[in-house]
Symmetry: C2
Subunit: 373 residues, 2 copies
């Protein structure tokens, strides 16, 4: 079971260390922040106020839902309606309720837009308002990159379900029951829930040969054929107890030499990346090696090599070849590796699996693969 | 067909009027902005640079997809990869490519977080960087609140499909083929696409009697029973050519007097709201009247009365009883009206339809209703 108190203690410790009296987290349309889910169990649409005095107040849009979902977390639940549904009114009320002394540091979310930041400063005139990248939300994202025992146990179950679905989809593409993108997507949607999942991690991408050239097919899936001659991509994940898996399969039928070459390069890139993935390794180096490998064949991957997974479909660590990527692989991290190549004429190929780092190295939790039909 | 040039001309006119040399729009994970779709046809993951010299440059994550989707818009398409996938590098390059003179006003998105704003200012040292609520994005959101002929034609087709689905769902709940939330959700997902839709407007909310107490059921749908004794809520929309509809039905079976009362109040509130909806009317007044109507019965609606719809599921006008809501209803606006009441013991009831304003008044495009089983 989630230990919400232990999680809250960590961020309260950080606040003490940083000398911050009050932190506001916001999870609202357009500014989502799963840290509130991680700290309280509440699934979204809420403000969370944390005081250095180790108190927490959750202002929820839906009081009924909050009472059920955040019931195991030591937070005081109030209705967002009490503040005229305005975050600025809520933070002023929270500072008062939690007895924050004038002159204290109050931190607002680092994603607060600049014009809104100015409004907060005007409203909280008696306080020192902080809005910066080094913040509670960033600290929480760092904490969340390293999973605890509960989270790893959830992921083992989620991966097992994901793998069942991979086998099920392969079987039904082979036996002809899945003929269209819609057939594949709907089977996943319903079979994930039959196995106890909340749903899928994101809008499924099921792209038949005509549409697999795009990194993210648009729309995500249609009634077009799937699994016919050429390359078909299926990118999906399940959400179990709010934790996301994320895998991509490629189906290949009657392929030409160019398509075979794409597959071959992607499979080799996946192996190369996995062979380099170890504790203490800079994530950037792994991604750079894959980019270099593709470059040797005059190919370019138009996206990053991978990303952490958790309550968000994309979180830390970042597995990307970018100058500012300073993530180092360590035990209990959970992330995808997903090399892919895309060709407007011949379609695309991506292979994505979920990796759990253990003390003894990388463990591939999922069984996504290239499936030759 | 969309007239992208006409749309771009409007925002270029605004830029000239405001004396802004360069505007950047950003549509990325965590900071979505459908204005890029509206101006170019590109569905997302891109930066758009607009110059006062009436040039437009689209920096897309997926070059292949952009060439297809934005092919009918007069934009120059470049790859975001060329800028190391960093918006700050891209804006510096765009300012150079578009010949923006030093000292000019450059506008970055109003939702730019305060810490990121500081980075932009550091990078664009030779320019006057604007980040404010009165901005191109806000102007575009204002323009988008009033639909053009193309958009109204799309909405008539989208509403017709939505209404077919409403009838189909009612029929299949009545004949027992829809027994669970999953049955309802999956039928909508596939039947929308069979009718040519891109997909659904948002994650379907199908909440049987045990879960209808929440405004937004969490998870959105499960394998739990739907349409059994009590109140079941079904909130869905279809996305046609990227335009969203949004309706909510309530199914009632073997209801008790308390549930009957909820239904009765919600139906009366919907009628009251519709009777007040007219050109020139402040949206706030309509919402305030419904809140007052519920208050007379000692009930409170825990959400706004409605919202504009378009490329986003929630856009302008705002139909909400809040002091800062200054929207006035006018012809060609398209919005929902969705009174709802929720009770932890007896479940919830919501009734949501899509309204098109014409010169002669409100036209209800959709046929959502309370369905007594």
């Amino acid at each position: 079971m989630e230990n919400y108190t232990a999680r809250l203690e960590k961020i309260w410790d950080w606040m003490t260390q940083e000398g911050i009296a009050l932190v506001m987290l916001e999870d609202a349309e357009g500014r989502r922040d799963k840290n509130i889910r991680w700290l309280t169990g509440h699934p979204g649409d809420a403000l969370l106020f944390l005081s250095a005095e180790r108190k927490a107040v959750l202002a929820a849009w839906d009081l009924n839902l909050a009472k059920i979902c955040a019931g195991r977390s030591p937070v005081t639940i109030v209705s967002y309606n009490d503040f005229d549904r305005q975050p600025r009114k809520a933070i002023v009320a929270a500072a008062k309720k939690l007895g924050i002394p004038a002159g204290s540091k109050i931190e607002i979310p680092p994603i607060t837009p600049y014009p809104v930041f100015l409004d907060y400063v005007g409203e909280l005139i008696d306080f020192d308002v902080l809005c910066r990248e080094r913040c509670a939300a960033a600290e929480l994202m760092k904490l969340r990159a390293v999973k605890d025992d509960y989270e790893i146990a959830v992921y083992r179950r989620a991966a097992a379900i994901t793998n069942e679905l991979i086998d099920l989809i392969e079987k039904n593409v082979r036996n002809g029951k899945i003929k269209t993108e819609a057939d594949a997507a709907l089977m996943i949607e319903v079979e994930a829930r039959r196995r106890g999942c909340e749903g899928t991690s994101f809008g499924i991408l099921a792209a038949g040969p005509e549409r697999s050239f795009a990194i993210h097919a648009f729309p995500g899936w249609t009634c077009a054929p799937f699994g016919g001659p050429g390359l078909s991509i299926l990118d999906f994940g399940v959400k179990l107890d709010s934790y996301c898996t994320d895998v991509t399969l490629t189906f290949a039928r009657d392929i030409n030499p160019k398509q075979e070459r794409l597959i071959n390069l992607v499979e080799k890139a996946a192996k190369l990346a996995l062979s380099m993935t170890d504790n203490g390794k800079p994530a950037k180096e792994i991604a750079a090696a894959v980019d270099a490998f593709f470059a040797k064949s005059k190919k370019q991957m138009p996206h990053g090599l991978g990303h952490g997974i958790g309550l968000d479909e994309h979180e830390n660590p970042v597995i990307r070849n970018r100058s500012d990527n300073e993530w180092i692989i360590e035990p209990r991290m959970l992330f995808t590796i997903e090399p892919g190549l895309y060709d407007t004429l011949h379609g695309g190929c991506r292979l994505e699996n979920d990796i759990l780092m253990t003390e003894s190295g990388a463990e591939v939790l999922t069984t996504a693969r290239i499936i030759h039909l």
